[in-house]
Symmetry: C5
Subunit: 353 residues, 5 copies
Amino acid sequence: VNSRYSHAKPHSIPGTLQHIGARRLDVARMSVIEYDEQRCVVRDVTDPRLCRQPTAAKQVTWLNVDGTHDPQVMEVLGAQFNLHSLVLEDVMSAGERPKLEEHDNNIFLVLKMLDWDEQRGQIVVEQVSLVLGPDYVLTFQQCVGDVFDDVRERIRQSKGRIRKMGADYLAYALIDATVDHYFVVLEKVAEWADELDVEVERAPQRVRPQDMHVLKRELLFLRRAIAPARETLGTLAHIHDNELISNGVSVFLRDVHDHVVQVTETIELMRESLTSILDVYHAAAANRMNEVMKLLTVISTIFIPLTFVAGVYGMNFDNMPELHWQHGYFYALALMAGVGVATFGYVKWNRWL
Amino acid sequence: VNSRYSHAKPHSIPGTLQHIGARRLDVARMSVIEYDEQRCVVRDVTDPRLCRQPTAAKQVTWLNVDGTHDPQVMEVLGAQFNLHSLVLEDVMSAGERPKLEEHDNNIFLVLKMLDWDEQRGQIVVEQVSLVLGPDYVLTFQQCVGDVFDDVRERIRQSKGRIRKMGADYLAYALIDATVDHYFVVLEKVAEWADELDVEVERAPQRVRPQDMHVLKRELLFLRRAIAPARETLGTLAHIHDNELISNGVSVFLRDVHDHVVQVTETIELMRESLTSILDVYHAAAANRMNEVMKLLTVISTIFIPLTFVAGVYGMNFDNMPELHWQHGYFYALALMAGVGVATFGYVKWNRWL
Amino acid sequence: VNSRYSHAKPHSIPGTLQHIGARRLDVARMSVIEYDEQRCVVRDVTDPRLCRQPTAAKQVTWLNVDGTHDPQVMEVLGAQFNLHSLVLEDVMSAGERPKLEEHDNNIFLVLKMLDWDEQRGQIVVEQVSLVLGPDYVLTFQQCVGDVFDDVRERIRQSKGRIRKMGADYLAYALIDATVDHYFVVLEKVAEWADELDVEVERAPQRVRPQDMHVLKRELLFLRRAIAPARETLGTLAHIHDNELISNGVSVFLRDVHDHVVQVTETIELMRESLTSILDVYHAAAANRMNEVMKLLTVISTIFIPLTFVAGVYGMNFDNMPELHWQHGYFYALALMAGVGVATFGYVKWNRWL
Amino acid sequence: VNSRYSHAKPHSIPGTLQHIGARRLDVARMSVIEYDEQRCVVRDVTDPRLCRQPTAAKQVTWLNVDGTHDPQVMEVLGAQFNLHSLVLEDVMSAGERPKLEEHDNNIFLVLKMLDWDEQRGQIVVEQVSLVLGPDYVLTFQQCVGDVFDDVRERIRQSKGRIRKMGADYLAYALIDATVDHYFVVLEKVAEWADELDVEVERAPQRVRPQDMHVLKRELLFLRRAIAPARETLGTLAHIHDNELISNGVSVFLRDVHDHVVQVTETIELMRESLTSILDVYHAAAANRMNEVMKLLTVISTIFIPLTFVAGVYGMNFDNMPELHWQHGYFYALALMAGVGVATFGYVKWNRWL
Amino acid sequence: VNSRYSHAKPHSIPGTLQHIGARRLDVARMSVIEYDEQRCVVRDVTDPRLCRQPTAAKQVTWLNVDGTHDPQVMEVLGAQFNLHSLVLEDVMSAGERPKLEEHDNNIFLVLKMLDWDEQRGQIVVEQVSLVLGPDYVLTFQQCVGDVFDDVRERIRQSKGRIRKMGADYLAYALIDATVDHYFVVLEKVAEWADELDVEVERAPQRVRPQDMHVLKRELLFLRRAIAPARETLGTLAHIHDNELISNGVSVFLRDVHDHVVQVTETIELMRESLTSILDVYHAAAANRMNEVMKLLTVISTIFIPLTFVAGVYGMNFDNMPELHWQHGYFYALALMAGVGVATFGYVKWNRWL
């Protein structure tokens, strides 16, 4: 599916596991981090049945899965963590819209992870699904490489408060890392918009309308990826009656929500600014056209009558008295000079040019 | 009714049965599927009085009617399933807006079934009405051929959970099949929009404004068919106090609602992208115009003064000293060359062209 | 008041009866229909005091008044049916916005009755006010001729359920007749829009911008007349705690509301489509301009240099060697042909034209 | 402050009395009307301490103040009627937005009084502040001359019900008089818009774009003055739990609210119509441009090649056989006629013009 | 970060203190004002541990911090006033969106302080964070220089009621000073918009499209800084159940909210007016283009045919009878005059020009 308008394809049987989207990874890679305030164990897992181990009380388990295309792996994970079949289906589908679902024993969240592809100069969107349970967090990504390294480091080195808090704080930290990366991508797009902005003020003729279209389209795709997350995280930040999220963490989630709101507002700002840039572009193009037309008109208006006069005295009639005057030629030159100056003056005086 | 703005015609007496819309089928075709976890019976019915048979407990009856133009058939069905006269009226009217009505003993839902007509290159809209009762689902379509074959197959072959669930899950499966087909149609329109997108970036002059208008109109019609379904299915997914829909099925209905939301957002995205494409088109057209005008201006600006000089020395005055100079002709040629180069240089230097 | 932006003029004293709007009828015509399941009496009344007669239980009285300009008649009617002075004032004012008011003993509704004036090719708007009491319905119109004939016929001939139902069903039937007529007017406008649509695809140059403006303005007026009715009828359809409207009739009112929603959505659809048509028109006009400019440029670019060459050899210098060559003329012709072909080829090669 | 974007200037100390806006009146003029069903006393007051006199029960006092620039007068009035310091501050500031405030012992309302300045052809806005207490109404205006004369007359002559009702009805009557005058101003603007509408249909070239801008700006200012009043009066009309407003008067306030809604909708209608007029204007300007270009192209396309032919036979080569043919001249004329007709025919055949 | 789209950069660890934004000040400057009705002490502090001193009952402490880049200072202050780590983080980040957070023991508010940079002719935005506790107010600014001098003066000189009120009134006074300064900035922008308005009416050709773009962009940035404050202050003004804000102060906060609403509406008004100005600009540019084209067309249409006639009689055929007529030359001149007048008349008659 190459179209950037692409989306979840229809599944044949609801609740049947089926990978949708490009198969970016051959084998699913699973890595588990188990930690509490004292200990922290990191291990890679190949057999999904080993993901969940009987753990001590208050220990938090974070399972990250890269590659969601293998139905068998997903089914085992679903059984282990007691996931609804629709959750598994959404995890495997790449084109889901950011959304939040409260299930009996967990909270399911779909977000978009954004990155900037320097080479192609466009935004890369990857889906990240997150399941928050009482003492575990599951994250599912389509391919290797994410924005969670910083969180992993903080857990390992016990930076900040993360090791003292529960699974809900871990979920917050992961959402926060995802949203913070939006700013990095936004910064790239802002540079692009700033360049256009400067260019259109300095030399509008160098801006290609196609460039503006490409930026506008990129902003549209950016908004499609982020805008639903605004509503989703707003809902998440204001859940009060779910024991999976403690009050202390709600404050942090509201902070993330503020950041998403900021991102969406900046996107809107850029879109409106781009519309204004387009207006300038059109106006400048019309002005250049005017300049060209004026030049043509000045030249034509002055010389066409003079050429006519020269043509008259180039006629071959036998009886043309002026031709035989002593200074006829010079009178004619003077006449032409006079007509030229008069025409030019008349045009100037009327401010037509 | 050829107009694509067409709609339900006024009925003379409310509650009087009257077919509205093109009569696409001569005789109504009724087919009944009765199933429970163990058994599944499929039969075609010609006499509407035989549609409902005394059934064992927990058995689900699905009656599909192709062709809704015969008032007598509809009246018998209405009596058998205890339908409100307005429900029958809406079923028979082809131009209804997607809507949801909760009646005492059933839930009535109107949706649009979309298909892509490859030959005419446009979207075909058909209305599908669905009545969900305690142990039955009725579906009414205007003509033969639908997107339900997959559901029929799943019932017959007992794929997935469908045979274990009640009538509400069957209704969900049918709605889901309808909405999934929206993605197929959307994919076609997305291809179309992508082609325009690529074309306008590569060679804007080849794009015809009419093409953009046709796509835009198609998107408008698509939105009209789908947008109200967003609200309708949202309401359906959040019904909590109606015993016709069990909690287990509500989760699935919310999933369908998410898909419809995704479809409507993609339509909006395409519309905005199309607006941007139109801007590029206009800018490119203005640019081409500029190019043409510049060529005309260059040629005119250089040659009009030269032609004037030639005209002067083509005059027939007796006394024109230059004409008798030994190298007058060559001086004139040099003068003309000089004027031409000077004009061209002046224009270039001023960056008028 | 000729302006189509016209509206209710300020009244000097609130609650003082005063006719506003063109006085279209000399004398108010009142007709009364009294009916129950068995009987139906139709009578014309000239004395407003005779409108309400002591009636048997369960009998419904429908009083229709054509012409609302006579304050004395209105005052008597107001006293007979116990109407609020503001209701009478609104009935007499022609420019009221569709609205709904619940009073102690009745429900007051203002709607617009639309018709299509074939001759002038524009929509005619007439105000219809409706008062629903426990056992009566009053309708007030500005001039003779309405869309209620069908309802009258159904009462007289006892078609459908109307004779078995109360005053609330009669009110519904009248509102339904009014709204159904919107579709007739909309059909006319849709034909108009379709014609423009076809025309702009086939031959955009034949479309006049004024035509598009007239249609757009007509749509704006249509929306002004209908859009508030959407909200008004929505409120009416969801009144639950008023004993004047029974539950059985609420279902029908919701149906009417659906129809009004459909009408307003179609109007919006047409407006957006019209915007798109305008874009095509502008693009097509720009294209034609481009064609004309290209023709001018081709001719000028080829012939202006050739004319210059001819001018050179038309000069009268004594010493012009080429003139005396044996085949000078033919060389010149060849030169000119060469320049012409070269210019044309250069332009073509650069794809400037 | 000449800018029409002007607004309340920052006050240095909140609650400190300070006049903001042009000082239109030298001395504040106070006039008091005291009335009940039997009596009515009108008196002009110069000492603000005499405004409130001990009155009989059920008597209503209306104090109107023209000129709000004198802090001392305002302070005395504030003490007499027990007004909040922010109320006094708002009364003295000319650029307040229409708003409603419920205080402990009174309701404070700010509205805009509009008038049409025939000479300058623009809308004049004056602020009117209204305080409704249990048995009094205070109105504050910036300069002499208002739309309340009709209300004064009705009180004096005991027209309608005004003398029988309380202070809340008086407040309604004053608001109603203000809003009714909006229609007068709107009528002027509607005439203006109608003229533009007719002009653009008949002779678009006579319409100046500046005229449309001026009207649009006037509509924007009109909307700014009125739109907040829509919300304000809506709130006022739906106050249920404030004993200052009786139920009987609420019905009247809802009527005023309906009128304001009508005004704002008409303003929106005009704005959209104006946008459409602008489209027509642009299209018509482009059409005229096209016509001019076509003329230029026809003349150039036909005559430029002919002039070239004439130039060829004006060359002075010794050996030009055609020149010595008996009928060479006539052949040349025929050739030129043929070329001209062929060019014209070719252009016509291609429908380029 | 030079981009005006800039925003809060992602923080590595939530709750970790880190300054974001340009470091405008080397050392944080802290000044404390402690006052009650009788006393008022002003002191500058360098050690953050000395900011809060045990105070008498009912005394209000206002701590203003200029420069928020030093994590150590911020940490000490956070500990002293018991601030949430996210509050400290937001205070140190320069790109926060205006927002309101209710914490257990304080209310945290972020606003934008605006100023007008005369030299660069653009708006300068600085973030001001405010923490309201039971008996203290903290304000944090990025650099020295603010709009609070007036409030300081009022406290010192005990002007108005400020010394008699609590910390909530002080918070109000500071918010009010911030919002009042919006009007000063708005006045500057309004002047700018007025100039453009006048210029475009008088001489549209002098307006540069870039100027309009710059103003539009400035309005967009203004709106981004202020619009969220509208919602924020609205929430603040309607907090009822928080004992930090007394009822008496709520009235004042509603007044500030009204002012912010006024500012945002004026910004919207300017944006719409600017759109209209742009329309006039485009229309005027098209008109000038038309004028230039008409001049070119008049000259060309008249002289091109005449030049052709002169060319014909400049041909050198042996047998051209007209050349030998006695008055041939004068007949030719008359013919040319006739053709010129006829062409001009034809064009005028057709109103092509």
